[in-house]
């Protein structure tokens, strides 16, 4: 088991004007998930459903309110920042907006080099570092001359390749792609998705793919989990989900993504005591 989430919950306090709390918002609500090596999982849901928060909790960028996150069998929660470092190199993230995720003052080489700082064996080995940079850059199909460029000289697709290269520098096991292709045009989306497929083979990666678009999620994932209001309301192998969406919200998402059909929007009530129920073939639905 590569990654295992158990009952992860994240509350955000709503602050009063001066002191104290008014209440809490539950961004992620009792989420349990497992990821096996090589089995890509997609988290799909509309903006504000808690999927990005969940990704950041996994990377320990924000602490969960409760629940455990195990990576390779180790519970990450009690680890200090320093103890976390060996795990960080195995879990990397690619962000949605390639215009925002690269430091505009850094050349591409410097951005990639910085990603190597966790690898103690490579410190001061300029030659080995350079080889690694070249290797990763070739893998994401960027020419070498990009290295001395600044982000503002690159197109959106090129920037996103750099962001992917940065995530790959440390040879991670898990790469979290947070809406990584949403801001690109279709041609580039397709190229990046194809690239992700190639990289998975060469680098032996597992993807956690976060998207609002079921159609794109379908192209990269073995399993899809649908999130709604902080909860996972349905999880199934990709083709099974497309064939047989059970939850009304999943059906709405499918209609919108595949047929561009708007379903009359309605609130989907969440049963407060509900649980994920197995419907066979690994298809779970929240009820």
């Amino acid at each position: 088991m590569l990654l295992e989430l158990k009952n992860v919950t994240k509350d955000y306090p709503i602050k009063k004007f001066i002191f104290g709390q008014k209440g809490r918002v539950r961004a992620v609500d009792n989420v349990s998930l497992t990821l096996s090596s090589g089995e890509n999982l997609s988290l799909v849901g509309e903006s504000g459903c808690g999927k990005t928060t969940l990704a950041r909790i996994i990377l320990k960028l924000i602490p969960p309110t409760s629940g455990t996150i195990c990576f390779g069998g180790r519970d990450l929660n009690p680890l200090s920042a320093r103890q976390m470092n060996p795990f960080r190199r195995h879990m990397q993230m690619v962000f949605q907006d390639p215009y925002d995720s690269l430091d505009p003052r850094y050349t591409i080489r410097r951005t990639l080099k910085e990603a190597l700082h966790l690898d103690q064996t490579l410190v001061k080995q300029t030659k080995a570092q350079e080889e690694r940079i070249q290797h990763v850059l070739r893998s994401v199909k960027l020419p070498e001359m990009m290295l001395s460029r600044y982000p503002h000289e690159l197109s959106g697709g090129e920037r996103q390749r750099v962001a992917i290269a940065r995530a790959l520098m440390m040879n991670p096991k898990l790469v979290i792609l947070d809406e990584a292709v949403s801001s690109l045009d279709v041609l580039i989306q397709r190229q990046i998705i194809d690239l992700l497929g190639d990289l998975q083979k060469t680098f032996h990666l597992t993807y956690l793919f976060i998207s609002h678009n079921l159609k794109i999620a379908r192209a990269v994932s073995h399993q899809i989990a649908v999130m709604y209001q902080g909860k996972i309301i349905e999880i199934a192998p990709t083709e099974e989900l497309f064939r047989n969406p059970l939850h009304p919200y999943t059906q709405e998402l499918l209609a919108a993504a595949v047929d561009y059909q708007a379903v009359e929007s309605k609130q989907h009530p969440i049963n407060p005591t509900g649980q994920l129920v197995d419907k066979g073939q690994g298809h779970l639905i929240f009820m």
Binding site: R56, L59, L61, A81, M84, N85, R88, R89, M91, Q92, M93, F95, Q96, D97, Y99, D100, S101, L102, D103, P104, R105, T107, E114, A115, H117, L118, S148, R149, Y150, P151, H152, E153, S155, A163, R166, M170
Partner: protein, 365 residues
């Protein structure tokens, strides 16, 4: 896609924009000259700042002659005779019997080059028997030309050192407050506001009063620098904090976090450098405040003490309208303050103009 051979960082692009602003480049050159003359004040000025000759109190600027007995000669000055008029004021007249050629690289008052190498050579001067007052003399017969350059040392350096101290404090406090937010932010910002609430000049006077009387001039100088930067850092910290608050939400900061960089590394590498564009022109626009602050203190006699010169205490002489009427050249230090402040402001404005598009988009695209 741009097909350029050399990649330009955002700062490079901004600098190219700056070079197109002729007025600002002119100001930068002028400012550079002022700083050079201040650094080499010992060499450039014919006399030391303390070299006085009471016989020549308020001597007017010395005329330089190049014409003698119908033909050109090398520049020279005549000796000076003085007499008293009915009001017991000195009247200076040229003594045409004495003639002192102006020569380059003459030996004069001893000084230490860069405070290290003992040296007596001055850029120009006349024989010791004569006196040359290019811009007139003060009440004790000291050369105003020399004293302005010596004064420039104090006045110009106080801005740089002061801004350095207050910027260091401001960047650190603002960076920490903005990056961590929450309670740390609240506490630090309340402290800043306490400083900002007190009117600057009163705070200046109050802090100056706390400096012991027995300080020598160098200690007083540093006390003033510290006092000035003490007042200046708070406003800056608040602005840096505001910028950090928004910068820390950027994805590349998150990316750096997920790479396992420590908070200190992230603040130093990915957050503070982005406040640089703002900082550069904020520095330019706030240096004049330090120069003026020092001048104000020295003007009312609380700053640099005689015989040490600063533009402020040179102007203290010019506080009486009678003196200005009879000896208008004692206002010259004001011109230098004015020029310096204008230069810094023009450069600051130009920098803001060429850095602004970057600041706005932040994406540089």
């Amino acid at each position: 896609m741009t097909k350029q051979t050399k990649s330009l960082s955002e700062l490079d692009i901004a600098f190219q924009g700056f070079k197109k602003n002729r007025l600002a480049v002119g100001c930068a050159v002028l400012l550079g000259l002022l700083y050079l003359t201040a650094i080499f004040a010992d060499f450039v000025s014919p006399y030391s700042y303390a070299n006085e000759d009471r016989r020549y109190s308020y001597s007017p600027p010395t005329a330089i002659h190049v014409w003698r007995e119908g033909r050109f000669t090398r520049p020279f000055v005549y000796g000076i005779n003085s007499a008293f008029n009915d009001y017991h004021q000195r009247i200076y007249q040229e003594d045409q019997s004495q003639m002192f050629p102006i020569s380059p690289f003459v030996k004069g008052d001893a000084y230490k080059f860069f405070g290290l190498i003992p040296c007596r050579i001055h850029l120009f001067g006349v024989a010791p028997e004569g006196r040359i007052y290019l811009w007139g003399a003060d009440s004790r017969g000291r050369d105003l030309f020399s004293r302005i350059f010596y004064g420039g040392r104090v006045s110009l350096s106080i801005g740089i050192i002061g801004i350095f101290i207050s910027f260091t404090i401001g960047l650190i406090v603002g960076g920490i407050a903005g990056y961590y937010g929450g309670r740390i932010d609240d506490i630090l910002m309340r402290v800043c506001e306490m400083f900002m609430m007190v009117p600057g000049f009163y705070l200046l006077l109050a802090l100056r009063a706390a400096v012991p009387d027995e300080f020598n001039s160098v200690q007083v100088y540093f006390a003033i620098v510290v006092i000035l930067s003490f007042i200046g850092w708070a406003g800056l910290a608040r602005i840096i904090r505001g910028m950090c608050l928004s910068l820390r939400e950027r994805d590349y900061v998150l990316a750096a976090k997920s790479l396992g960089l420590s908070d200190g590394q992230i603040i130093a590498r990915h957050i503070l450098p982005h406040t640089l564009s703002y900082s550069i022109f904020a520095i330019m626009l706030s240096i004049p405040g330090y120069i003026l602050g020092e001048s104000a203190l020295s003007l009312i006699g609380l700053g640099i003490q005689d015989p040490l010169a600063s533009w402020g205490n040179l102007l203290a002489d010019a506080m009486s309208i009678v003196h200005i009427k009879f000896y208008p050249w004692i206002l010259l230090p004001a011109l230098f303050i004015f020029l310096t402040v204008i230069c810094f402001n023009v450069i600051g404005d130009a920098l803001r103009d060429c850095l602004d598009p970057m600041l706005k988009s932040g994406k540089g695209a």
